[in-house]
């Protein structure tokens, strides 16, 4: 039923910050339900602003956002989104288990305990379940961040540079889990600076710069569009335009 609508639709999205910075301007984007969608662009391109706008973490200047056909600020739409932010933003007072339980509670889950145990096991945090977030290693925090985003079984998972600063083994492990999630029908929106990662994982990629959409296609289409043999070269060309 919810697949009748795009997972995410942005129409004329504009965000101007209080200091006058125009982070997004008249931005239109539609991501189909079930897609694995990549958002690529340099620092300051507007990726995190776009994600924050979708997740109700900033006040948009103009435009409309809908999630599976529902206004993004409705309770229904919020319940469908899972967000793993770029920066580690775990509650310093909560243990691993409590982080997941409380997140589940905020999302209205009636019995979050079983789901929390499932994710603690799946992300290899069993021996750290009663450890508070500040005492976890960087990799463990990153895993917990992802587990928290998935806790309430979201239909749209938004991953903002989830593998930044993560070692090779953990990156492979995280992608294995995300691929499995996508195979089960979850829509994934990913931002990353690792172009090969985007190329391997994403069905479609959008290149954005200075708050504008430059191009959007699958990896092959982008290479053809820019007349180059590698996605890296397409990216460099797009950003130089």
């Amino acid at each position: 039923m919810y697949r009748d609508h795009p997972a995410l639709a942005l129409r004329g999205l504009t965000k101007r910050y209080a200091d006058g910075t125009l982070a997004l301007e008249e931005f239109d984007l539609e991501i189909p339900a079930g897609a694995f969608f990549g958002l690529l662009g340099p620092n300051g391109a507007g990726k995190t602003t776009l994600i924050s706008a979708v997740c109700n973490l900033l006040r948009i200047t103009e435009g409309e956002i809908s999630v599976f056909g529902e206004p993004h600020d409705s309770l229904q739409a919020r319940s469908w989104i899972g967000l793993a932010e770029q920066d580690i933003n775990l509650d310093r007072f909560l243990t691993v288990r409590e982080t997941l339980l409380y997140h589940g509670g905020y999302w209205g889950m009636r019995e979050p305990e079983n789901r929390a145990h499932e994710l603690i096991d799946a992300f290899g945090l069993t021996h750290k379940r009663d450890t508070r977030a500040p005492r976890l290693s960087g990799g463990q925090r990153r895993r917990l961040l992802l587990a928290r985003a998935l806790m309430h079984r979201p239909r749209l998972v938004i991953l903002d540079e989830p593998t930044a600063g993560v070692d090779f083994e953990l990156r492979q492990e995280l992608w294995r889990y995300i691929r499995q999630l996508h195979a089960e029908g979850t829509t994934i929106l990913l931002t990353t600076h690792y172009l090969e990662e985007a190329e391997q994982l994403c069905d479609e990629i959008a290149l954005i710069r200075d708050g504008h959409l430059i191009a959007r296609d699958n990896s092959e289409g982008l290479r053809e569009h820019f007349g180059v043999g590698r996605l890296q070269d397409a990216y460099v060309k797009a950003m130089a335009l």
């Binding site: 967000l83 509650d91 905020y106 209205g108």
Partner: protein, 251 residues
């Protein structure tokens, strides 16, 4: 209602995990006030009205401890959540703004009540303080805690550094509390200090609580409750407005 219950639980859990800082420390410092001021000065001042001095100061000290705790708790919990950005987990949740406001307010109220009840028990044992009008006491405390817990939220949301929250606590709330009649009846003050005391909102809170405990007050209980309510309602509405609009919480 589930998200609200979980947010209330989270805020209460924070208070309980930090209980030595959040509850024990204010109880110990307030008891020191009662022992040092009450029992030492009490030997010289004897009575205020018909009440022994060590009993007279108890309602004001309990009010001071609870009001400061409600403010400090909420200012620090929301500022910390903003600073570390884990407030985003609440702001992006399918939760209504009134649930966020109420959930955060509850933390400060619970902490203040834990302190108040502990002090009441200890003060009863040490100086035998009575509770003459429990309903008036409950009303005064309820309104006072909503006022200071909400004020803490507002300050914690506007604050840009930790210093901002402690500035309001040390430069505004603490002095107003001290000159609000905690240690004396304003009747004994010379003009114009007695009249000026009536412009201090904490004066009304201290007197409403004192009426609840001792049955005595410098002003009418209804005037006191009215003044506290007239402040609590707009400050609570202000904190709710911040959550509903996202101002200062969302860029």
């Amino acid at each position: 209602m589930t998200p609200l219950v979980w947010l209330c639980k989270r805020e209460t859990l924070r208070v309980s995990k930090l209980w030595t800082q959040t509850v024990l420390a204010p109880v110990v410092s307030s008891m020191l006030f009662i022992l040092v001021f009450g029992l030492s000065l009490g030997g010289r001042i004897k009575q205020v009205g018909d009440v022994d001095y060590e009993v007279f100061i108890v309602p004001g000290l309990i009010t001071m401890a609870m009001a400061q705790a409600a403010f400090a708790n909420n200012a620090s919990t929301i500022f910390q959540a903003r600073f570390d950005r884990y407030v985003n987990d609440v702001l992006s949740a399918p939760m209504r703004s009134w649930q966020m406001t109420l959930g955060y307010t509850v933390g400060g109220v619970v902490r203040a009540l834990a302190i108040g009840v502990s002090l009441l028990v200890l003060a009863f044992v040490v100086v035998g303080v009575p509770v003459e009008h429990p309903f008036a006491l409950a009303a005064a405390m309820g309104l006072g805690l909503v006022l200071f817990a909400s004020l803490g939220l507002v300050v914690g949301i506007y604050a840009e550094t930790w210093d901002h929250t402690s500035f309001i606590q040390n430069i505004v709330i603490l002095p107003l509390t001290f000159v609000g009649g905690v240690f004396y009846s304003v009747d004994v003050l010379p003009s114009p200090w007695e009249e000026l005391s009536h412009f201090n909102p904490v004066f009304y809170l201290v007197n409403a609580v004192r009426y609840g405990f001792l049955g005595e007050s410098d002003v009418s209980i209804w005037l006191s409750l009215g003044v506290i309510a007239a402040l609590a309602v707009p400050v609570y509405a202000w904190s709710e407005w911040l959550f509903s609009t996202g101002r200062r919480l969302k860029d």
